[in-house]
């Protein structure tokens, strides 16, 4: 039996029944939230394993057995199409969401309206899972909006201060603008080619790449760079991610900007457009945005005094690396360099999801136990909260790219490929890392410095908050121990499947 639909059914049922379960009491609701996310993780693992072991695209038609219409050779139904890239991201989404939900059990205990919180966090997870499995452009848009609207509401969840509400409204305006760009792109493609199925659009664009089709790509790139927080349009991210509760920040920074931005951009660029347009130009456009993003994001991180804001700017910087990798992958399409860059980008998406989730969980633990995230007041935290500080150390070292941790391999692949592609880009990437190092060393010195009065009575958080951090630390170290094995076994096959546009099309249309 095909488990793919359960990737949507389980979280959807969990979200709908969350208010019912909270009628049975707080304990039942917490247990239900954990159970639902654990089940989702199990389903996502199964889907990932299926796709990974067979290296075959998983195509699932909604409402019928075949996507093709009666007596016609083209798909007319909504379909889901999962390749290894989508399955990998589904796994990471389910994993980090599971961690965030366990963490919330304690972190959000003192808040009210928690049935809405758990409903929204499950809906957020659902939206992201939908984006990574869909093979239909409008279905993609629907899931994108599900994800975005859940995250607007979650950013403004703590409405006792104006910070959250202001950030939520700002996020909503910018996000809606970005969504309307994407919708306009979809509308242009539909008007021009008369289909919304991604693989059939790829055929149509390949036959007749019109100006309207290229303009649609422009709208997609614009809207998705907005959503991923690339530099000229990153201002919402620096407000929205710090203002959200930390478990949500972990999901927003670790997952939402990648799934809703980078993944979609990659899918559209490779699977829909592919080589039927001037792929080199598109690649260079993304490279330029990536370079600007990684310099500005990391440099802005250095001067922040608010810990979560620092992490948010650091996320902007890391998005820059991923964009750089994807840009080189497009510009050097079909060469070894392009493959390495793309593998590095995919690898970094996974790694950054883990490390940024860990860092935000650390920030949340500090905020929860001490009540401030201002770095000037947190001096000497390591004496009172050794585990939390250790978790931070691991996360920071991983994000800088120190060798025994997971960030090393992915950053190395990106440096290597950019040096081979164009040495100037490698220089830019290294400068970005220098800024990134400076930013995290600052926090590290604060944590290990002379104790201030604020932290005198600080204590470690409870088990429900420590456990997710511990799991993430273990994951980061384990992934760091086998970097090239992971690269060869998972990332390179992912890249191969991602680039194989012909296969992506044939899996749906079936050679007809």
């Amino acid at each position: 039996m095909n488990v793919l639909p359960f990737l949507i059914i389980v979280p959807l049922m969990g979200a709908f029944s969350m208010p019912l379960s909270s009628l049975l009491g707080e304990k039942a609701r917490s247990a239900w939230a954990v159970l639902v996310s654990a089940l989702t993780l199990a389903v996502a693992s199964k889907v990932f394993y299926d796709v990974w072991s067979t290296k075959q695209l998983l195509v699932y038609t909604l409402g019928d057995t075949t996507p093709l219409g009666k007596g016609v050779g083209f798909p007319i139904r909504i379909l889901w199409e999962v390749d290894l890239f989508g399955a990998l991201l589904a796994l990471i989404v389910a994993f980090v969401a599971f961690m965030a939900i366990i963490y919330s059990l304690e972190y959000m205990k003192h808040d009210t309206g928690l049935e809405k919180y758990y409903t929204l966090i499950t809906v957020l997870e659902l939206g992201m899972l939908g984006i990574v499995i869909t093979g239909d452009l409008f279905n993609f848009y629907v899931f994108l909006e599900i994800m975005s609207i859940a995250s607007y509401a979650l950013v403004a969840f703590r409405n006792d201060t104006w910070e959250g509400i202001e950030a939520g409204i700002k996020y909503m305006f910018v996000g809606s603008l970005a969504s309307s760009f994407i919708l306009l792109g979809i509308a242009l493609l539909y008007g021009q080619y008369g289909t919304l199925t991604m693989s059939y659009l790829a055929v149509k664009i390949g036959q007749n790449p019109t100006f309207v089709g290229k303009a649609a790509l422009g709208f997609f790139i614009g809207g998705l760079l907005f959503k991923s927080g690339a530099v000229p349009v990153h201002m919402w991210l620096a407000d929205a991610h710090p203002a959200a509760p930390s478990s949500i920040s972990a999901m927003l920074s670790g997952l939402v900007i990648k799934v809703g931005g980078i993944y979609a951009l990659t899918r559209i660029a490779f699977s829909i457009y592919g080589t039927s347009i001037n792929i080199k130009t598109v690649g260079w456009i993304i490279i330029l945005f990536g370079c600007a993003t990684l310099i500005v994001g990391n440099a802005m991180a250095v001067i922040q005094t608010d810990m979560k804001r620092l992490f948010a700017f650091s996320s902007v910087g890391q998005i820059g690396y991923i964009l750089l990798g994807i840009g080189i992958g497009l510009a050097a399409y079909g060469t070894k360099v392009g493959d390495i860059a793309l593998a590095g980008a995919v690898y970094h998406i996974v790694n950054h999801a883990l490390m940024k989730a860990l860092l935000f969980l650390v920030a949340g633990a500090v905020l929860h136990q001490i009540g401030t995230k201002n770095l000037n007041e947190l001096s000497g935290l390591a004496k009172r909260m050794p585990f939390t500080s250790f978790a931070f150390l691991i996360g920071a070292a991983a994000i800088i790219g120190l060798p025994p941790l997971n960030g090393f391999a992915s950053k190395w692949l990106i440096y290597e490929s950019s040096a081979l592609f164009n040495p100037f880009l490698a220089a830019v990437a290294v400068i970005g890392t220098a800024f990134c190092t400076a930013a995290y060393i600052r926090v590290l010195f604060t944590f290990f410095g002379r104790p201030s009065e604020v932290v005198d009575n600080a204590e470690e958080p409870g088990k429900a908050m420590m456990l997710p951090m511990l799991v993430l630390i273990v994951a980061i170290i384990l992934m760091g121990l086998f970097p090239w094995q992971i690269n060869d076994k998972i990332m390179l096959p992912t890249v191969d499947m991602l680039k194989d546009q012909l296969h992506y099309v044939a899996a749906v249309i079936g050679g007809a």
């Binding site: 949507i8 979200a15 208010p19 057995t65």
Partner: protein, 153 residues
């Protein structure tokens, strides 16, 4: 200090008119929901129309009166029920595919001649579920907005 008594309800004329029109709005909404698969409109539009009757009630009779008739838990449960019914109906044909219209294809229920009320398989049930969800959700949202507003008169 302003001691002006704040009346949240409206005058007799409005109330009388509301009494007459609220049932009609409700019936019209129910019509839109139940004919969702035949005519323009459907679950969302019909649910929103029925919720419009609730808005009229709130405006005409005031927040105090509306609070007496509003049970948060019940509406929350109704909304969940709407969602779960929708999902359950979509899962009916899971042996073939998610969202497979088992009722219509296999002629189990709602399998009448196309264009009649009892046709289209799962669509009428889904419309009812969506209508229920939208109605309960909009009423809850409206009550929340009127109860928890931060500015004062």
């Amino acid at each position: 200090m302003n001691h002006r008594s704040v009346r949240s309800d409206m005058g007799l004329i409005v109330k009388t008119t509301a009494r007459a029109t609220i049932p009609l709005i409700g019936i019209f909404g129910a019509y839109i929901v139940s004919h969702g698969h035949l005519t323009p409109g459907g679950g969302f539009q019909g649910g929103a129309t029925i919720a419009g009757a609730g808005v009229l009630f709130l405006i005409a009779f005031g927040l105090e009166e509306a609070k007496k008739r509003y049970d948060h838990h019940a509406y929350s449960a109704l909304e969940s029920l709407g969602g779960l019914v929708f999902l359950g109906i979509a899962m009916l044909g899971l042996s073939v595919a998610f969202f497979y219209n088992m009722l219509w294809r296999k002629g189990i229920a709602f399998a009448g001649k196309p264009g009649t009320l009892l046709s289209a398989g799962y669509l009428p049930i889904m419309n009812l579920a969506v209508g229920l969800k939208v109605f309960a959700g909009l009423i809850s949202a409206m009550m929340a907005i009127s109860m928890y507003r931060r500015w004062k008169e």
